[in-house]
């Protein structure tokens, strides 16, 4: 019997999926995109949407492992959905699964290079690695695609503040951040200190 490339591709995809499914119960997978995966713009199915919302809730509430589990299931079903990979990466980041987070993030940006949340996370990971310039680029990219990304403003402000010692720029982004979030008194207080320091410096 003659084996066609199509058939062989399908078999390979099935094998990868089986492996992912098998692994998720124990440790996060690297979450490679299936071969030939394309960006998926079709709407999630209802169950998928439901599951997605659950995952987001878990993540928001700090239950990152659970969120990761659910998102993993979702990307297996809808590997072409960038935001699913981005959220999965975020879950991994918070569960200290750095490599998996990096991989998921790569998938997300592959599927959607303009995904602001993905860039924000990429900047965060770069900063962890002390790759300051790369982090800055990702944060700027995030803000380019989503000027209202509060996290991105915060992170840029943090970078200018604690790395480049550029207080003026830092204050600017802190303030943008503060404008987008409902309540972050700690940050607001810090901004004030910075402004005082800036004034002391004569600037």
């Amino acid at each position: 019997m003659k084996v066609t490339p199509l058939f062989r591709g399908r078999v390979a995809a099935m094998a990868i999926a089986a492996l992912l499914l098998g692994a998720c119960s124990q440790t996060p997978t690297t979450g490679n995109l299936p071969a030939g995966a394309e960006s998926d713009t079709t709407s999630l199915t209802d169950p998928q949407r439901h599951l997605y919302q659950q995952a987001l809730r878990h993540g928001h509430n700090g239950d990152y492992p659970k969120a990761a589990e659910q998102l993993q299931r979702l990307v297996e079903q809808r590997p072409g959905r960038a935001e699913l990979w981005a959220h999965l990466a975020t879950a991994y980041y918070h569960t200290d699964h750095g490599p998996q987070a990096e991989k998921a993030l790569e998938n997300a940006l592959t599927l959607n290079p303009a995904l602001a949340s993905a860039h924000n996370l990429a900047g965060t990971l770069a900063l962890k690695r002390a790759e300051v310039e790369a982090a800055e680029r990702h944060f700027e990219e995030a803000l380019k695609h989503n000027a209202n990304s509060a996290d991105a403003h915060y992170n840029v402000a943090l970078l200018y503040d604690t790395y480049y010692q550029d207080l003026r720029s830092a204050i600017e982004h802190y303030e943008a951040y503060l404008a987008l979030v409902e309540d972050d008194e700690r940050t607001a207080q810090w901004v004030r200190q910075l402004q005082s320091a800036l004034e002391r410096q004569g600037g």
């Binding site: 713009t41 993540g59 303009a114 002390a130 300051v132 989503n146 992170n155 480049y164």
Partner: protein
Amino acid sequence: MIGNKFSLSIATLTLIATTAGCSHQAPKRATLAELDKASRVSATASNKALAGSVDSTDAKAAYYQFLQSAPDSDRARNQAMARLADLELKESLRWSDQDNYQEDRRYRDTLERTIELLESSLNEFPDAEGNDRKWYQLAKSHDELGHHQESLDALQQLVNQHPDSPLYAEAQFRLAESAFSRGDYLAAEIAYTAALHGSRDTSFHERALFKRGWARYKQSLSEPALEDFIAVIHSQAFPSAAQLSETPLSDEDRVIYEEYYRSLALAMIDAPSPTMVSELFRKHGVEDWYAPYRAASALLRGQGRTSDAVAQWQHLLETDPDPWVALRARSKMVALWREGGFSQQAIAATEQLYQSYRQQPSAASHSAAAEQSRTQLRQHWKSAARHHHALYQDSGETHHFEQAQQWYERYLEHFDGYAQQDGIALAYGDLLAEADHVEAAFQQYRRAAFDGSVILDPEAAYAALALLNTLADRSPERWTDDYSRYAEAFARLYPNDERTPTIALSAAQYAYQAEQHETAISLAQYAMTDTDTRAEAYSLVLQSQLNKADYAEAEQTAGQFLALDSLPETTRRQTRQQRALSVYRQAEKAEEEQAWQEAIRHYRRIHEQDPNTDNAPKGLYNALTLAAEQQEWELTIGLIQRFQSVYPEHPLRADAERQLSSAYIASGQTEAAARQYEKLAGSEKDATAQRAAQWKAAQLYLEEEDLEGAINAFRRYAHSYPTPYPQNAEAMHQLIGLYEQTAEPEKRQFWERKLLSRDRQQPESDKSARTRRLAASAALSLGRSHHEQYDETALSLPLENSLAQKTEHMQSAIERYAQAASYGLGDITSEATHRIGRIYETLARALLESDRPTELSGEALIQYDILLEDRAFPFEDKAIEFYERNLKRARAEGFNEWMVQSRERLAVLFPVRYAREPKARFSVSEDQSRRDTASLAAQERETQP
């Protein structure tokens, strides 16, 4: 002279007698004929061995018996007596065949019986027929017995009584001869004349005529004598002098010829005047005038009368003879003067001869006489030339030279073709050479010596070559070719002549100077075996071969030359130089042809053969260079080592050794290469080369991980070559690294300080980015060292001491860090800044963690802690200040590891600010996700066509 007595007419007389006898009839009873016949039969029958003897004996007996019985008047008796006389004469003849027959009685008896018989017959029968014959026989018989007068008387009776007898002329002749012998020349003349008239026999007539001429000559009757002699010579019809020169007479005829002309000459000499002689010659139609004058002249010459002999020729000339005869006459005159020792006269005559010859209308005649004349002329002119030549040699006077030259030139003008065979060319060459007319002399010598390349006269050839040597010296471009050609011919023909080597060598030298090297070599070969010339010859051949680029041959020649014994040391040295050069050239040729192995082999050979020559080290150097180019490293190394050992002081040694280093490297012998470079550094005269070699050596040690070697090499470099500064700084930098590896911090720090010290001393123009980095690194390293000491110094009790110590280290470290930072290099400044921050941070920590004084407790201890904190916190602030200062550089210089570390320390020291995490939170609603998705969709749309 007339022949032997009566022999002349014996046959005739016998015949006449026989005829007369036969004409007369014999008596009846027994005839005389029958007597002869009977006796012949008897002789035959008796078969005697001596038939004649027996025959005549029997006949005689028979006749004598007959006479006894014959009556006196009987006519037969007369016949018998005549017959008996004949027989007796016949017998006497037989007896005369033996030696000393005249003493033999039997001989004399027969003659006496003959006389008796004849006298009886003549007395008894005085008028009988045939008595003329009996008188003749009687004369003869007396003559045989020595009765000369009786013999003459009988002859006289014969001529008186029988004037018509056939025997008359002979009888007169014999009477004339007798008279001539007695000196009665008149009687002789008369008798000869009678004999002439009485005979028609040509030969007898000639003799009689000749004798009459003599008889007349004896009576000083010159004219008749001359006429007789002229007639005699005329009758002989002798060939002319000209003819005789072509066809000589037989010896016998020559005798007669000479005798007749001698006789004529005598008469000519005695003639009253030369004119008479010439008139007689004309009168008698003498054709060959030369012969008589020649004879006359010769006769006088024989008598030592030179002038008279010459005068004879002059007489001939006065007769206006044939031009060639005249020339011969003049030639004879010259010869006579010369033979007589009259030089001046001889020369004057020669001049006349020359003038005569010049006027000779038929000078081109090719007759034998003409040739003879020419031959004589040549000899005379040659003699004249030699005469003057000799005088010139004796006196050196110019006019003698001119005279001699004139005669040589005259000779050459007319007899050029004989110049060689007569030795004129050689002699003339001598004359010219003696007068220092070198070129003209050479031309004569050349014609005397050479016929093309064939040598005719070796002495002339040698003389010509000697002059060529002078000529070539004066004008080499004109004469060198001739010199070479003739010298070669001489040498080839006379290779064993003792002069050949010198000639050949001299000619070879000129050929060499004319750059005719092939010729020079060829000539010099002839001089190579002679002990006196061989050294120069070898040298010349060698140099010629070099000049014509026959280098292999030159090498061979040099080898042969050097093999000679007792060669002067200077020559030997020079030859070795030349041999070395020849091999060098061979090597160069091979190199041009890219025959590398061959070229290397040749270059090496120079050194092996002649190590002390100029080209030997060059050759060896070239060999090793080629070997290196061909990447034959082992060979290269071997050759270089050889060079080092043999030519340690040679200027090329340094270059060779440079290549040795390369060869070592190429062959993987890095350590050896390094040593070699170090050695080079010590031997190079050029400071740059020394420095480069030292540096290369150090690098090679480094490459070989020979730390000790590298340290030594770099240390030498650093000490020896302070300039250029950048390289010197590198050397110190290497030393710093090496001492780091060998864990010798003090030495490392020494060089770090040294580097900083030198860097301070350098003008900015000598510094570079690299030197600044190296200096900054050194300062940083020193700072680290102090930093370590600082870290290692614990703040123990008593705190004042340890703190002072620690503070000192701290200050030193900060000082060095600040020094490092002062170079403005981002990474180094960042590290230095961070480390300063770190010092302050750790000092604060150390203070807080320092030992507490044991006597403190309670409140005092609390106060002490507070005091420590007060002391420590400023240091923490200082640390934060430096860390933040470090971070401030990030924007401009990029974020480096030291900034990372500073950032990390800040997170610890100032967590409120620096320990905050970035935010990466989940979106709280699906709206966010949807926005993200919408953004993607919008992007996709933008990318579509």
